[in-house]
Point group: C2
Chain length 271, copies 2
Amino acid sequence: MRFTEMLAAAWQKNDSLLCVGLDPDPEQFPASVRKSPDALFEFCAAIIDATAHFVCAFKPQIAYFSAYRAEETLERIIAYIHARHPGIPVILDAKRGDIGSTAKQYAREAFMRYQADAVTLNPYLGFDSIEPYFDYPGKGVILLCRTSNPGGSDLQFMEGTEGERLFERVARLAAGAWNKTGQCALVVGATFPAEIARVRSLVGDMPLLVPGIGAQGGDIAATVKAGKTAAGYGLILNSSRAILYAGQGNDYAAAARIAAQQTRDSINRER
Amino acid sequence: MRFTEMLAAAWQKNDSLLCVGLDPDPEQFPASVRKSPDALFEFCAAIIDATAHFVCAFKPQIAYFSAYRAEETLERIIAYIHARHPGIPVILDAKRGDIGSTAKQYAREAFMRYQADAVTLNPYLGFDSIEPYFDYPGKGVILLCRTSNPGGSDLQFMEGTEGERLFERVARLAAGAWNKTGQCALVVGATFPAEIARVRSLVGDMPLLVPGIGAQGGDIAATVKAGKTAAGYGLILNSSRAILYAGQGNDYAAAARIAAQQTRDSINRER
């Protein structure tokens, strides 16, 4: 199944726009987990099983694995999601961006090695840095557009001579000339609802991956209102730390389940 | 030693502005090497030993390792350079770009895990996506500015309302407010000498990493003329394929040595 179809099916089946981000930081694990030789896997598998019925996607952040020489663990975690929770798409958050011959290697990494259903990419190098990912025609290609970190405006908010800002140009290209397989999506931060609405107006029903729900403080009501499609979908609302570390003790998985369900329900009240 | 000092010492010691890019593609290895269970390492080590006296830096491209589950090989290759050719800086070409908490993990990956002396980064997410790398104060932080791939102009050439193009804004910030440790450098492609000159005019003597010498067809004379500092330094001119695959048979290391020496000498004739 193609990424957008898989996502649409998960939106409906779990009645959820929530994505759980897997950014496992061993320093924040409960002591009992931290002691295990396979702590990263155990922690993530417990979070996955606890939250899978309340999400539309999982989004592992590769940096948290590569910093700890744990690529093989990431492979196992993604395989675990596919085996235990088939139908939930896995978005590899890698934000790769490189020229064609190197992009081919990164596409191979994301889709063949890790078996991700979609990958996040950085558009700074332009179309040919995105193109090799379209060689995997069912896979999702999610481009950074507008981010909500403090420096997000340093470049993205630059206004061009035609009155178009940089992030608007990315949105226009992603929805138009660049979207060769119909599997493009965009990353748009949660702290600027007016800009989510602006992006939505530029891209039709394209899925928007919105980090910043939860720990990063984005307002759920404003985000959903600004970003949802007419049918009440179109959003992948990511929460990482607020779910992963909802509980500090051995009940962390149960606490994550409650946090995920509550976040999903808070989102649904605004749809 | 700090990255810029290490680089300056290597420029002088080897009388070279040439950087050899390590983008090892097993499909292009000689048959004898391809058969080895440790082919990636053997190929790179042979290239490194053959060319180390003619370079100012080595630049491994991480995608060529991560696509083949070979991160551990990349660790060994970088350790090999440090052990056998101390003083030659290693630039990890990773083009990472993410928000602060994730950038911390990527910085750990580049500088603690891989022991690189510098890393390439993508500036699209702004200053706080760069800042965590400055926690390693001697390490080089090399930002994408202007790339020479076909899509390089899609975003980088966008002209702002103040007449400043996106790549010029990156250059200005990298040479100014962002350069907290004095260890910033920029990536500027070789196919637009006028733009190399423009960047040089914005950044003083900051090192410029220029891919595209050799296989990508950038003109050495025009590049050196446009990018060198008054003292005849300031450039890290990268060649990958034209050196790595200079010979197709068992003489590939000797062929790489000759290609590296000739490229270095061609560059020096223009300084």
